[in-house]
């Protein structure tokens, strides 16, 4: 009976605590920036490095005097990759935490789910997700007014891969993709752009994000004997694909991975199987390989060193997207302060901003600001990347 009694009291307390905790404790004289990442859940491989990156950046900014003397205060929420949660989080950031701008979310789905919120409350939102739909309103044919994004669109990665294939004289290809937003978006771009590059897709295979083996799909591809395979996935499945591809003795069919492969961790996990795999990567993944006079050399080297020193894990490309998003906002705050409309205008007119994934030049018609030059083709050699020209 007593146990039951305690439990009842505790349950009631939960309701009470829920009402009281988390007082909005706005620091006087600080700039508040909201962030929503998929820190846990199915897309934690995105949200985790993104969160670590922005926290690291905020720490550094505040340690070196803040933004024009004011502190940068980050309010980070976790959407767990869920559209509903993301919608609630962004609404809360804007209405309760009263942030100047929002960065994130990590995934395309949740990003699309909060466009209407950003537009409704007229708050700038810099998404860290790739889909072009985030910055393209099908009704008007122009970007949404308040929404930007930093990652390269999948079409740029596809163009980079197709260009490379074309230069090698390959046009008979097979594609593979994971059945998540990332894979599906890449797949649709691969199919959409194929005619433009004269690519003949002879097999179109899929697998689930938690699948343990892709031998069946690869065997089918082996049966139609294409000259190259383009695989579009993130997480452990891309490593499994690489290993299965090697095991099945398919090294004669060149394997192209998407930019999702952009972490040395993947080469390590493939334990030798990734040798000779091509993939398009943004500058921040290959900082050491960049020539010394490259515009992004110093920012990317800086980021890489700091991140690896602090977290003792290889850099992934995703942290770079949140780096770009936060620094774009910080840059705007420096110039115009916490004025939502001014921040929006500032970012829209930003030209030649040196980021982790490229040089950003926005315009009223382009809220992504990158071109396909943002990707460099690399090949796996030993346990590292090597630039391909």
């Amino acid at each position: 009976m007593t146990l039951k009694r305690i439990s009842v009291i505790i349950t009631i307390c939960f309701f009470a605590i829920g009402l009281l905790v988390g007082q909005a404790n706005a620091l006087e004289g600080s700039y508040k920036v909201g962030a929503v990442f998929s820190v846990t859940g199915r897309a934690s491989f995105l949200g985790d490095p993104e969160k670590k990156t922005v926290e690291m950046l905020a720490e550094k900014i505040n340690a070196t005097g803040g933004i024009k003397g004011k502190k940068l205060e980050l309010v980070i929420y976790d959407d767990e990759g869920d559209a509903t949660k993301c919608n609630l989080a962004v609404e809360k950031l804007i209405t309760r935490d009263k942030v100047c701008a929002v960065i994130g979310p990590s995934l395309s789905g949740p990003s699309l789910a909060v466009i209407s919120v950003a537009e409704k409350y007229e708050t700038p939102l810099v998404s860290c997700a790739a889909s072009y739909k985030i910055v393209y309103d099908e009704k008007t044919g122009k970007p949404y007014k308040w929404v930007f994004k930093t990652p390269q669109s999948d079409s740029m990665a596809v163009e980079a891969i197709y260009t490379h294939l074309k230069n090698r004289g390959i046009n008979k290809i097979a594609i593979m993709s994971v059945t998540s937003g990332f894979g599906a978006s890449g797949r649709s771009e691969l199919i959409r752009l194929a005619p433009e590059f004269n690519m003949n897709i002879v097999a179109d295979e899929k697998y689930g994000p938690k699948d343990t083996d892709m031998t069946a799909q690869l065997t089918k591809i082996k049966g139609v004997a294409p000259a190259a395979i383009v695989n579009w996935s993130i997480g452990p499945t891309q490593v499994t694909v690489t290993r299965n591809w090697r095991d099945l003795g398919m090294a004669g069919i060149t394997l192209y991975q998407s930019h999702g492969f952009g972490s040395r961790k993947n080469i390590e996990l493939a334990s030798g199987a990734a040798e000779g795999v091509f993939c398009p990567l943004g500058a921040c993944n290959i900082a050491e390989l960049l020539p010394a006079n490259h515009l992004q050399k110093s920012v990317t080297m800086d980021y890489m060193k700091n991140y690896m020193a602090k977290h003792n894990e290889p850099l992934s490309s995703f942290g770079g997207h949140s780096w770009d998003a936060l620094m774009l906002v910080v840059d705007a705050l420096k110039s115009v302060g916490c004025d939502k409309a001014a921040i929006r205008n500032y970012i829209e007119n930003q030209k030649g901003f040196v980021g982790q994934h490229g040089l950003f030049s926005f315009s009223p018609d382009d809220h992504n600001g990158l071109t396909k030059d943002a990707f460099k083709m690399v090949i796996v050699k030993g346990d590292d990347w090597a630039l391909v020209d």
């Binding site: 039951k4 505790i10 976790d78 609404e91 309760r96 789905g109 466009i115 649709s188």
Partner: protein, 323 residues
């Protein structure tokens, strides 16, 4: 008698009506109104599920599929074909009803774990269809551009307006369901739960009632799905995955299987816990969530709806102690 008194319903309705006003007075909880919209949407599903699971005793771990059917029918027909949103809502409910009848007819002959697995399988299959039929559903990336709701020129375009719209429906559905429970139908359902052979020997067409209540709960889930789609203006398949079905199950079990009130309390608690109150635990959120769940199941097997009974129990005990 199982009479749900009118007073609690009136108090509940009053609470719902004044909630946005209270929330606005306290800045810390101002955004709670927004969360309450989702609580309302989920309540539509859990009220129906409570009738199915708590009263008729038929488990379903596949209702996310019906939620999704409502959302996608509304989404596709309004965004792609520009049809009237309210008409689409009804079409969605009709489709959900047909699917529920087709799936329920063979499935509801199964018992216990077998029924659970059959509903899980159905839910996953529908989820895969949402993912794969990209031309219709937009695939894993989802579909955006779903318009908001409006009625005779009145637009439900603010949180508060949508709140009242959704909760108006919740109250209506709640009262309807309570009426059903208090009628012969409710008795028949509880009889099926207690003993199928006895119920059928008393002339209850067990199979018909099971399907009836399965269809009813599916229709409500579909309605909820339509509201969800029009509120978020966006849907993607991951909202309708197996884990959402499990979450619905948790809401009902936590609130208390044998009471419609339990469904509402459980839905509110889980929605607030997972969207708001546990945020402060950050990395540990999921562990705390699991711990609370385990804690409640271990100590309150009847769920939160059992709490008043427990409280009454103390008083009785105290009285008898004093004697």
């Amino acid at each position: 008698m199982l009479r749900i008194a009118k007073l609690p319903i009136a108090v509940f309705a009053l609470f719902i009506i004044v909630f946005p006003w209270i929330a606005r007075q306290i800045p810390v909880i101002e955004h709670y109104t927004n969360i309450m919209v989702f609580v309302g949407i989920y309540c539509l599903i859990t009220i129906g599920l409570s009738l199915l699971m708590g009263y008729a005793g038929q488990i379903s771990i596949g209702h996310a599929a019906f939620f999704g059917i409502g959302a996608y029918v509304s989404g596709i027909l309004t965004a792609k074909y520009g049809m009237n949103a309210w008409a689409c809502m009804v079409i969605g409910m009709a489709i959900a009803a047909v699917v529920a009848a087709l799936v329920g007819a063979p499935s509801l002959k199964l018992k216990g774990h077998y029924l659970a697995m059959a509903t899980i399988a159905f839910g996953i299959i529908v989820f895969i269809i949402f993912n794969e039929e990209i031309e219709w559903t937009g695939g894993p990336d989802g579909m955006s551009g779903i318009p908001g709701l409006s009625l005779f020129g009145f637009e439900f375009n603010s949180v508060k307006r949508y709140y009242y719209l959704v909760w108006g429906f919740v109250l209506a559905v709640f009262i309807f369901t309570v009426n059903v429970i208090q009628s012969g139908t409710g008795r028949a359902l509880r009889a099926i739960h207690a003993s199928e052979p006895a119920a059928s020997a008393m002339g209850v067409d067990v199979f018909r009632f099971k399907i009836l209540v399965f269809v009813y709960s599916a229709v409500l889930a579909s309605l909820a799905g339509s509201f969800y789609a029009h509120y978020l203006n966006f849907i993607n398949p991951s909202t309708f995955d197996l884990f959402f079905s499990v979450k619905l199950l948790i809401m009902i079990a936590l609130g208390g299987m044998h009471s419609i009130w339990g469904a509402i309390v459980g839905t509110g608690l889980i929605t607030f816990l997972s969207n708001e109150w546990l945020r402060y635990f950050e990395e540990f959120e999921i562990i705390v969530y699991g711990a609370i769940l385990l804690f409640v199941t271990v100590l309150l097997p009847d769920g939160l709806a059992g709490v008043p009974g427990v409280v009454k129990g103390w008083f009785r005990k105290q009285v008898s102690d004093e004697r």
